[in-house]
């Protein structure tokens, strides 16, 4: 009994320490004060500003949010397609070829962001490729796809390999067999891969920072970085953080409760970086 109480207390102390800064931001998102830590009475003004794009850096913040979402959506979609097709290919490879491509696939996951960022920066310089939207998206696809490959691979192992051949024998074209036989069986792996890729892209700072060039492209991360270096966060970031956190909290709980209920593929996916 004593042991249980001690264990519970330890866990809760850690959790409180983890959440204090987030709660602190959330509380102060409900007041108008420019500087954090000043309470000037309850107000929803900052929340309104986010949605109307009004006052204090509102417009550029909105642009940064839009860029972040567009980049994450494109990168996650392309990574999911590329990763799934490649996973099927890798799954059917044998021996040295398989090892080589799996080794290459692991590199972006092991490399710290700074190295991925610098190396891609040098690549674009070397190829005389002008940096901007496109290079950021290519860079994001580079570090997202390995996670899709890893999410889809286990599903291939669980699948009956003969179903695809059967579809071909019964007259389906390879494209039809892919769409009607393979994809439905791989869907859950593709979905977790997509979600993982999407959040990795949203979260990225270092790689974007090195590959965005000098055209003034800002994502949420680079915006926050620039903002904090100027001294003092844009107050509108407080409600934004609170909203993002709440949405993710709800999403994760829903996903986990649903998975717990269906008992199928009980895997929680986490971003690893």
């Amino acid at each position: 009994m004593m042991k249980k109480l001690l264990a519970k207390t330890y866990i809760w102390i850690l959790l409180i320490l983890l959440y204090v800064p987030i709660i602190f931001i959330a509380v102060f998102s409900f007041t108008e004060a420019k500087t954090l830590g000043n309470w000037t009475g309850f107000s929803l003004e900052l929340y309104k500003n986010i949605f109307t794009g009004g006052v204090g850096g509102g417009a550029s913040l909105m642009a940064a949010i839009k860029n972040t979402l567009v980049i994450a959506l494109i990168a996650a979609a392309v990574s999911t397609i590329l990763g799934t097709v490649s996973a099927i290919g890798i799954f059917n490879l044998r021996g040295r070829k398989k090892n080589t491509i799996q080794f290459l696939n692991n590199i972006p996951m092991i490399n710290p962001d700074v190295i991925t960022g610098v190396s891609l920066f040098l690549l674009f310089v070397f190829l005389h490729f002008s940096q901007g939207y496109l290079t950021v998206i290519l860079a994001h696809i580079t570090f997202c796809t390995p996670y899709v490959v890893l999410s889809v691979m286990p599903k291939l192992g669980q699948m009956n390999p003969n179903t695809y051949e059967a579809a071909l024998d019964l007259g389906a074209t390879p494209a039809q067999a892919l769409r009607k036989v393979l994809v439905p069986q791989l869907r859950s792996g593709m979905l977790s891969g997509f979600i993982l890729a999407f959040t990795m892209s949203l979260d990225d700072f270092a790689v974007t920072f090195f590959t965005r060039g000098t055209i003034g492209l800002e994502t949420l991360s680079t915006y926050i970085y620039a903002d904090a270096r100027k001294g003092g966060l844009t107050p509108e970031l407080r409600p934004l953080m609170t909203l993002i956190f709440t949405i993710i909290l709800i999403l994760l709980i829903v996903i986990n409760v649903r998975q717990g209920r269906t008992k199928e593929g009980q895997k929680t996916i986490i971003p690893v970086k």
Binding site: I22, I25, I88, V114, L233, V272
Partner: protein
């Protein structure tokens, strides 16, 4: 069957262009002088550059300290979370994973702002607090996963054969959880060495980590020196990965929550 293996070809080409070639370019630029010819200058410059060497030493020191604190705090947490007698709720586990989904920069700034408001002066202490705060979940999760999958009958057998609880832990549970520990160390140590931005915010620019000087050099168009520093970092990463023999796949795979 053989045809479907061809589906990996486009990705193979992609990997060569966007993963292999960039890494080769780091090596090429690291050994290239201003005139474009081969030189060792960039590497020797690092060993003569007091500031860079100092930053390097500080980064390794901070990364070791951060990894140790995360391990000491995280192992008991993972142990409790994975133990069905001590923790029955899946929500507690989700609560530990959740902060990993929030932008690290945002979390760091929130911590830094909190210290400011509370009147703490920013320095080494706040840097370590912030790093532990950022990376603790990455230590807990892989260890938790390994402990969860561990077959309990080994520990039970040891206890039946007369081992004390301390012996059971030291001789059975701990050795069996080593793979989780090495993935955890890998996932905390390497990102700490290479962080930039985080250390600037948490110490008010007082302490720089290795990632920051790479960024500064690249940004001020000192590409060759930046590449040399990146190469040095790559070597350290290669060494730690070899030493620990761990891989992140353990963690990506996830576990039952």
């Amino acid at each position: 069957m053989s045809k479907r293996s061809n589906w990996a070809i486009p990705y193979f080409i992609f990997l060569v262009i966007f993963v292999l070639l960039p890494l080769i370019l780091i090596v090429v630029y690291a050994f290239q002088g201003q005139d474009g010819g081969f030189t060792m200058e960039n590497i020797t410059k690092f060993f003569a550059d007091g500031d860079a060497l100092n930053t390097f030493a500080v980064s390794i020191e901070v990364a070791i300290e951060n990894t140790l604190i995360c391990l000491l705090l995280g192992y008991p947490a993972a142990y409790i979370l994975a133990n069905k007698d001590l923790n029955k709720s899946a929500v507690t586990v989700i609560l530990f994973i959740l902060p990993m989904w929030i932008n690290a920069l945002m979390r760091t700034l929130a911590t830094a702002e909190l210290f400011n408001v509370l009147g703490f002066s920013l320095g080494k202490g706040t840097l370590l607090y912030g790093l532990v705060y950022d990376y603790l979940p990455f230590m807990i999760y892989p260890i938790y996963n390994v402990l969860l999958k561990m077959d309990n009958s080994y520990a039970e057998a040891a206890a039946d054969l007369g081992a004390t609880p301390v012996q059971v832990f030291g001789k059975v549970t701990l050795p069996l959880s080593m793979p989780g520990i090495s993935s955890g160390i890998l996932m905390v140590f390497m990102p700490t060495v290479s962080t930039f931005a985080i250390s600037e915010f948490l110490t008010n620019n007082k302490i720089k980590l290795f990632g920051t000087i790479i960024q500064e050099n690249i940004n001020s168009s000192m590409w060759n020196y930046g590449a040399a520093l990146s190469l040095i970092m790559l070597l350290i990463i290669g060494l730690t990965t070899l030493l620990l023999g761990g891989d992140k796949e353990n963690a990506v795979e996830g576990g039952t929550v």
